[in-house]
């Protein structure tokens, strides 16, 4: 057993354990953090495959952005764990059936693929990133762009469907605020200066106060 195989088994063990924690952890926060660990170890296994671009992108997108937002939402929710767990036994048969169907599908897919090829050993100057770029932007440029536009449409549709703006909400627009100039807020009013008589009156009053 060489070094790479040992590393592979260590990462696989961590990956499976953390994936198990994602579905068994009581607290949703712990589940999300276990998901982060699962993503990270999956990226490490991809690195062993010399697919460094995919591995780094997995960490960058899923760990660095998507799961942060998951955590962000989950942490601000008031989740009652006891309420979530009620009805567990009632729904168990249905869940088991769905799980069995998925497991059979996965087994069937894995068993029919007999044409697996061992990864070739490529020379050190082979750039995985460049090859992927060539595939995406030269060979499959139209399917790739269409997929990108579809995703964009889906994002805009999702935002448009869920965005509700109440008419009576008071909100501030920083764009308007930074445009404000001095003359919009300050008005200089010319007033006559204080006269000497007023000053005398003021002095007399303070003197009276002191005496009283």
């Amino acid at each position: 057993m060489n070094f790479e195989t040992i590393v592979f088994y260590i990462f696989s063990a961590i990956l499976l354990l953390s994936a198990l924690r994602v579905v068994t952890a009581r607290s949703p926060i712990h589940a999300a953090l276990a998901l982060v660990l699962a993503f990270f170890t999956a990226a490490s296994i991809w690195l062993l495959l010399e697919a460094e671009f995919l591995a780094i992108t997995l960490v960058l997108v899923y760990v660095g952005a998507v799961t942060v937002l998951f955590l962000f939402v989950v942490m601000t929710l008031d989740i009652d764990v006891a309420k979530m767990r009620e009805g567990f036994w009632r729904h168990l048969p249905l869940a088991l059936a769905a799980g069995a169907v998925m497991a059979t599908e996965m087994i069937l897919v894995l068993r029919t693929r007999t044409d697996t090829v061992a990864p070739r050993n490529l020379d050190t100057h082979y750039s995985n990133t460049k090859e992927l770029g060539r595939l995406l932007y030269v060979d499959y440029v139209y399917p790739f762009e269409i997929a990108a536009v579809l995703l964009l449409v889906a994002i805009i549709a999702a935002i448009a469907l869920t965005m509700r703006r109440r008419k009576d909400t008071k909100y501030i627009d920083p764009a308007d605020q930074v445009k404000v100039r001095r003359q919009d807020r300050i008005r200089l009013v010319s007033m006559p200066a204080e006269t000497a008589r007023m000053k005398d009156e003021g002095e007399r009053m303070t003197n009276e106060e002191e005496r009283g």
Binding site: I29, T57, L60, V68, S127
Partner: protein
Amino acid sequence: MMTAIQGFLGPWWPLVWTLVKILVIVLPLMGAVAYLTLAERKIIGYMQVRIGPNRVGIKGILQPLADAGKLLFKEIIIPAKSNKYLFLLAPVLSIAPALAAWAVVPFSPELVLANVDASLLFVMAITSMGVYGVIVAGWASNSKYAFLGAMRSAAQIVSYELAMGFALVGVLMAAQSLNLVEIVQGQEGGLFNWYFLPLFPLFVVYVVAGVAETNRAPFDVAEGESEIVAGFHVEYSGMAFAVFFLAEYANMILIAMLAALMFLGGWYSPVSFLPDGFIWLAAKVSFVLLLFLWFRATFPRYRYDQIMRLGWKVFIPLTLVWLVVVGAMMQTPYGYLFH
């Protein structure tokens, strides 16, 4: 002597040698972090017509050691009803990415721990993990101030990462490589070949986004002393707090280092009659770090909604427009200006 040690260690040699190289990078980095804190206090002191720390050692030169000693001997208090494991894991999650990113940073054409093909992407991916330290710290502390700080920080870091990423896309368009050594080598030949000139808007976006990413003033709403006492690390004390501090300063040096490598020509000298070398890189990094300190001494803290507006409505459109400009200019006869 090297061969003797190599023979003695046998198959363990690569492991030991890599660990030695890691130490050679991390120990000077920790030293730089310690003295950056002193430089910050001194420089901001002079900017505000104060003297700054001057009691420990000559002119306060040993102040960082005194600080480290003080923090080491303080008790780490774990709040009741906090999540103990996550509470102690958070500083680790914070410092690990700040150090791991240095694995691919080149100090000279040969002096780099791992000359990875996609090193720029690696740095971005690793630094994007740093936000977990803040979020986990804020949540595990079981304190509303810490939690508010973590929420602010998470939203801010995710927003500014996009602008930062787009700024880096401009660099890799100009260099046509994701490798940091090749990016620096693309800027060979004096001041006018450095990328900060053709990519000036991206350079500005990168530095400002870097300040926001490291939660430094004027983007330090995650700490916001006057509103949420100290933000995500309010419950931390002693060494656990010091680790957050170390991570913040290591990240600052990393951002400055990347700015120097990608926009300021790395180890190349600005004029042809002076030799290239690490000294230039150090000078450029120090300059960008001085900017960080200068910003802190100059600007008042940004309001939170204005931070979000700056990130999403100013920086991201600005970088996108400039990427289109760079891409279009590359198709014209003037494309050489951008390479």
